[in-house]
């Protein structure tokens, strides 16, 4: 155990986390250079493109230190978005230390601080690393000063490196060995291991990522997952070195995997404790939370006959994404689809993108919604996340919506802008505190519905990227809820209905009508687009009929060409949905979902 180090790398986006990981992997030569590709831990295209990590990855790096001893350095890569903050916290809980990576030209950024606080919360030992020192614009002294003043860390411990050209990588490895504490724990005690991620392998079932805190686990053990008391016979344990390397056992302090014929990832819950059936630990690890979706949206295939493919794709995606929940749904306008629950809007976008990209589906998503609690006049409570199921307002007593406690960390000069952003979103500023002379944390209570859309983007924009945001669900509070319907030529398009606060209704309806007007092509007749609450019309747009197209000649040589033209147009129409007699392109549905600007 003395020769194990478990650590994460935490950094602001684009400060070089993936490149540093790559260099550490290369330096320990567990992978041949010819097999190497950049950002090796970000295996999904989406991760590489967006520069974010979605799935945790972990890798065990054998490293012979300058003192001549062999160490096993477990790098646990963490997701980088507020939607996945719980997974991040579990990954950090598996570590004793963290490398805090700072770009030498950009210095300390909002996310650097947010990440640092998270690491400190988990009592991690922090090694500051100043990266990109090869850049002409690098200002190491400035960054050192910030490390001291803004982060309160000892700047003399900071390591200079350039992950790009490999400078300083040796020092980083030595620091991991010398500055991070080895894991503690009794390998003779009853097994206590933390599940911090899992993924599905079509041959082996769920691969469970664990950090062993106490005791020992090996093939043949019968284990229990504490949260649901499910029992599994362990077939194999091992460590990750890009590929899985089986080991006879994992003991306290180790990071690795177990395989136990687990068919679905949903049994394997992030944050859960694994122990032995015959010799259980007395107290499970703290901090377990059942992950619940907070954002809901329905997904429909553009071509109705793609429904079976969508069903298969979701099933496959779900194997690797325990937080994705879905059930069948249907819409008059869009046919069959699925109602899905997500951890947040980014999670939704990722699922959508993966379905479209990896399964080649074109999709229509309905407006994301939170889960409302509707108390009927007869006293019964109905939980509603789907506008289609909204009851007759005549029978509704009160409605409640989820609130969050939002923590925003920002340079104080953006305080005013953040204040107005949050107030505009029906937020209440409950607290604020200064971390340093010009950096502060602001606390707001905001309805969740107000942040799922574009809050994060807006915050980034009003703070020029310096504001960071984290939240937790707190409670349900009474709200004045209305259902806004969109009518196209008098026909209600159920897929475009939204549940919103009454003060938001007109604005949302107007926005939807405007977007639809822009996206629906002119057709043979006038198209009226209306936003309505019940029978009351609150916004309206009209699309005038299309241009005249008097047709001249068509003889033998024109027929194939003309037909091909019609066929070409029809291909575009495959991405259209008929609502009544109006053809609505997929882009129109998507545009309504997009935020303003």
């Amino acid at each position: 155990m003395i020769n194990i180090r478990n650590f994460s790398i935490i950094a602001h986006i684009d400060h070089g986390k993936s490149t540093l990981s790559d260099r550490l992997i290369q330096a320990t030569r567990i992978i041949a250079d010819r097999d190497f590709k950049d950002q090796i831990l970000d295996s999904m295209d989406i991760e590489r493109e967006r520069g974010i990590t979605i799935k945790s990855q972990t890798i065990c790096l054998p490293y012979t230190a300058q003192n001549g001893k062999l160490y096993y350095l477990n790098l646990i890569d963490t997701p980088g978005h507020v939607d996945f903050s719980y997974e991040v916290s579990r990954a950090l809980a598996s570590c004793e230390g963290a490398l805090l990576l700072i770009d030498a030209s950009q210095g300390v950024q909002a996310q650097t601080i947010a990440n640092l606080y998270q690491a400190v919360d988990h009592n991690l030992e922090i090694i500051p690393i100043i990266n990109k020192i090869d850049l002409p614009s690098a200002d190491v002294d400035m960054v050192r000063k910030q490390i001291s003043e803004d982060l309160g860390l000892d700047p003399s411990t900071a390591i200079l490196c350039s992950a790009k050209d490999g400078t300083g990588i040796d020092n980083v490895l030595e620091a991991i060995v010398n500055q991070l504490p080895p894991p503690k724990g009794d390998s003779e005690a009853p097994l206590k291991a933390l599940i911090f991620d899992s993924h599905y392998d079509s041959y082996r079932g769920t691969i469970v990522y664990i950090r062993v805190f106490e005791g020992k686990i090996q093939a043949g053990d019968e284990v229990v997952f504490v949260s649901n008391q499910s029992r599994h016979l362990v077939e194999e344990v091992g460590i990750f070195q890009i590929n899985r390397i089986p080991r006879p056992f994992l003991t306290s302090g180790s990071v690795g995997y177990i395989i136990a014929s687990i068919k679905t990832v949903s049994e394997t819950k992030c944050g859960d404790t694994v122990t032995l059936k015959n010799r259980p630990c007395k107290v499970p690890l703290s901090g377990f939370k059942e992950l619940k979706p907070v954002v809901f949206s329905s997904i429909y295939p553009v071509a109705s006959d793609d429904y079976p493919e969508l069903a298969i794709a979701l099933e496959k995606l779900k194997l690797n994404d325990a937080s994705l929940v879905y059930q069948k749904d249907s819409s008059v306008a869009l046919g069959f689809g699925f109602r899905c629950g997500f951890l947040g809007l980014l999670h939704l976008e990722i699922v959508q993108e993966r379905l479209e990209r990896e399964y080649d589906l074109s999709l229509i998503l309905t407006a994301p919604s939170v889960e409302y609690h509707v108390i009927m006049k007869d006293g019964s409570l109905i939980k509603i996340d789907n506008p289609a199921l909204y009851p007759d307002p005549m029978n509704i007593g009160t409605a409640k919506e989820p609130f969050i406690r939002a923590s925003i960390i920002t340079p104080d000069k953006y305080m005013g802008a953040i204040m107005s952003l949050c107030l505009e979103r029906r937020g209440i500023n409950t607290d604020y505190q200064y971390f340093s002379s010009n950096r502060m944390e602001m606390i707001f209570e905001i309805p969740l519905a107000e942040v799922i859309y574009d809050f994060y983007d807006k915050l980034k924009s009003v703070t020029q990227g310096y504001g960071s945001f984290d939240y937790e669900l707190t409670d349900y509070r009474e709200t004045e809820l209305v259902k806004v319907d969109i009518l196209v030529n008098g026909e209600r398009v159920d897929a475009l209905s939204q549940l919103v606060h009454k003060d938001r209704a007109v604005e949302r309806a107007k926005y939807a009508c405007e977007k639809l007007k822009d996206e629906i092509p002119r057709q043979m007749f006038k198209i009226a687009i209306q936003g309505a609450i019940g029978a009351k019309i609150i916004s309206r747009q009209t699309i005038s009929p299309f241009r005249k197209d008097v047709t001249a000649k068509c003889y033998g040589g024109d027929i194939t060409r003309k037909r091909k033209l019609l066929e070409k147009q029809k291909k575009g129409k495959k991405r259209m949905k008929m609502v009544g007699n109006v053809m609505i392109p997929q882009s129109a549905f998507l545009a309504v979902l997009k935020s303003k600007d």
């Binding site: 008097v550 001249a552 068509c554």
Partner: protein, 398 residues
Amino acid sequence: MCSLQTADAGIYIHIPFCKRKCLYCDFYSVTDLDKRFSFVRSAQTEINMIDFPMPTVDTIYLGGGTPSLLAPEDVSALLDSVRRKFSVSNDPEITIEVNPGTVNLDKLKGCRTAGVNRVNIGIQSFQDPYLKLLGRIHDAREAIACFDLAREAGFENIGIDLIYGIPGQTVRMWKADLKTAIMLSPEHISGYLLTYEAGVPLSLALEKGNIIALSEKKTVGFFEMIRRVLTDAGYIQYEISNYAKSLPSRSRHNLKYWTFAPYIGIGPSAHSFINNCRFWNVRSVDDYMTLIESGKPPRAGSERPDFRQQATEAVFLSLRCAQGICINDFEKRFSVKFQQLFGRTIALFEAEGYMIQTDGFCRLTCKGMRYLDSIADRLVYDIYKENQVDSAAASNPT
């Protein structure tokens, strides 16, 4: 018989020569007239090369280009080749396209002797400035003279082509053209909206801003005017751009294009359709002659439209015709219920006054004809939408 469909075949011979290219024309032609003689021999060879069984031929059409640039002996030679190769009916319609400025009485008489019984004159306009703008080689006086010559040569079936929507054209001028046309009393009048085909000089002039296209409102007005004026004068609109003095004077040959009758195209760029196969020849006259010389068919491409493609063609071609889609024929041919497939869409078009359904036909109204492309487009969506038209169930269209 419900439809206009006939099993008799048409022969189209493309004569790819012009004295000068008109500025709006995208038909294939060359101005090197010396090649005419060797071309005629190639075309004869192509006729003789046809190696598939052919139904009776009841129409022959010499189009172009400018077929009237051929000597009557050449016309005679081509028609003889057709007669020798195929079984030609007793009363074939044999048309030659004639451009004013390329014929005299002798030539017209010679054509008539060769067997041509219908001429179609490319008059286009009776206004000299517009003729000049279009790049025609003739003026209005020559146009009328040409018509008179054709009558004098004994032709009793004469069609004339007019173009409207020319930059600068006014309602009054268009009306005057139509009056002049009616006064000449041809058996057939085609009125084509000027279209700006990609790459032709007129389109380039439009792009450069040297000419300004007429507004849609105006061209629609012109379209409605030709329909009204010619109908008032007793002409029957039997296709979007075509009017006949009486049912027998409809262009029997052109009707084949819209009714899935078989036709064989001879000459460069000519298209053929037979046994549900469409094929077409190379565009260049030189390539055409080289291929023929080496004993190869001058084919540039071919296709066999699948069931949905056939249904698409059936929709946009039938709707061009005044009688519209024969619902019974359509249902039989594509094994679908017409109402089930299009009912909802057509009901909407009916409500808007674009379409009517009577006596088993579904046709465009005058208002609807203005929107043919868009209406066809919408119906094609229905064809593809629910997989109701099954590609596997294809049957022989003839």
